[in-house]
Symmetry: C2
Subunit: 305 residues, 2 copies
């Protein structure tokens, strides 16, 4: 571990990811846990960080660069927002140092869109964008889809964020699955697979008729009552309805001549790929985990080198 | 109480309403409680009914006509569905007698729409419809809006239900208010008033751009963060977004030349009146409580007289 140079942390609402990095950008160690902001607010941000550094036998005085909800008002130290339109590089200048710590710990700001009609905020995705776009998409127009609890669709022009919209897709899927009458219909369902006809059909139907979304959700229940809709198909239909609604919104408000870039990982990434395919939307994919790490490395390089 | 002739009960998922009626249709007594199906499944349907009859000093052997979720599979006795298209009067023929009870207790069936794409069900609203329309709207085309936990929009032609759609508006408002990130934004809010600009603006915006609904919901949160949106305005915006989305769906799928009839009571009725006014939609209102009682009386007359 002699050549560890700095620590990169993506500290979300419910997840914590840490990479121990060499000066040349090599990954020397990696940690993932559920100790996101919600947990760390109770147990203490310094202790969470220290425990993961200790688990990697890393020195406790390494410089640390952090993005995400650790910079929220209710996080570790408030890191504010850079207002859009904003060059992604401007985010790097706004890092806030955590006071009272021996180590040099910097938290990156988020982005804010302060319009009266469509106010919006992001924290963490700006760093992902930096990592995702700098290498291959430094010029041109992109519409970047970053799915998740609160999916972000970001319009980018020559590495400048011109506007963005958040859709509560993941969170609504979660609360509807758990707390509404549909909880009975999806009980015991398998994980939603993008190749299920029930998923693809719901994506297409919701995209074509977004105004019917809360009715289509009810048909998950009535489909179970009248047609014996299976739990797995019920969950796929719920998921597809929410994702189709999101894409309908994003495509109606973004520039349709912009290249669609999906920044996602794992199972959620596979669902969005299947949704785009069902809607015949051309896109390219960039791995979200790689992107945020690359963005944090770029931030570290800008701050300390 | 000498002239009590029968008992009318509207037994919903979460509410119980009972009227003690004379032969001529006079209300001799009335009870309301939260002992809907969810409660009665645990405490027993016969006991709930007996306790309310006892509270009115009514004989325990009066005939009883019941509509609503008491006739669901998980209710008291399953009363099945009449399939649409259906004359409302057909509902009266499908009443199921509760076995093993000394009193003559009949539960009315619901309506089912068995299409593969838009399956739908109602229980209780068919009785409200019967009461709402028979007197003044026995002919012509109506689009009937019945707001609630699961709002129903029903197409009726000469007292025949030709189709209907359920929107999960009320339940989604409730679970989003309680279980999503918006719970912080609406904490401490006053009851939503229809004359609030935040409500009317959200109704209009969601009606015009239904595809943006889950984004507009997030602006409740970001509006609080960036513009200090008040809890009352936040709740009004959440409510208006959900109601505007429902109306957009209903108007896109119903016949737009049909007369819009709002069957509603109380605060929820006032919100829908304000929403229709904000969208310049012509409508007439029929009181929902009166309607269901009149429908139950019509059923009692058909069954026992």
């Amino acid at each position: 571990m002699a050549d560890a140079a700095f620590v990169a942390v993506d500290w979300g609402t419910s997840s914590f990811r840490l990479w121990l990095m060499s000066k040349s950008g090599e990954i020397l160690g990696e940690r993932r846990s559920g100790e996101g902001m919600t947990t760390a607010m109770r147990t203490g941000f310094p202790d969470v960080l220290a425990s993961h550094l200790s688990a990697l036998s890393a020195p406790s005085d390494l410089p640390v660069v952090v993005c995400g909800m650790a910079g929220a008002r209710q996080g570790w130290v408030e890191a504010g927002y850079v207002d859009v339109p904003a060059d992604l590089a401007d985010v790097l200048k706004g890092a806030v140092r955590v006071p009272g710590e021996a180590a040099d710990i910097r938290i990156l700001p988020g982005l804010a869109q302060r319009s009266q009609d469509t106010p919006d905020v992001m924290r963490g995705e700006e760093t992902q964008l930096l990592g995702a776009l700098s290498a291959d998409y430094a010029t041109g127009e992109q519409l970047v889809c970053m799915p998740g609890t609160h999916s972000k669709w970001v319009s980018v022009s020559n590495l400048k964020v011109t506007g963005f919209s958040t859709y509560m897709t993941g969170e609504l899927f979660d609360v509807i699955s758990k707390h509404s009458i549909l909880s009975h219909a999806v009980e015991g369902a398998e994980t939603v697979a993008g190749d299920l006809p029930a998923f693809q059909g719901a994506v297409a139907e919701s995209y074509e008729n977004p105004q019917m979304a809360t009715n289509r959700l009810f048909t998950v229940r009535s489909g179970q009552l009248l047609h014996g809709l299976s739990a797995t198909d019920a969950k796929a239909k719920l998921s597809g309805t929410m994702i189709g609604l999101e894409i309908a919104g994003a495509r109606s408000s973004g520039r349709n001549d912009a290249k669609v870039i999906l920044v996602a990982s794992g199972a959620l990434g596979e669902l969005y790929k299947a949704a785009f395919a069902a809607l015949s939307i051309d896109f390219v994919t960039i791995d979200a985990d790689d992107a945020v790490r690359r963005g944090l490395v770029a931030a570290a390089n800008a701050i300390w080198q």
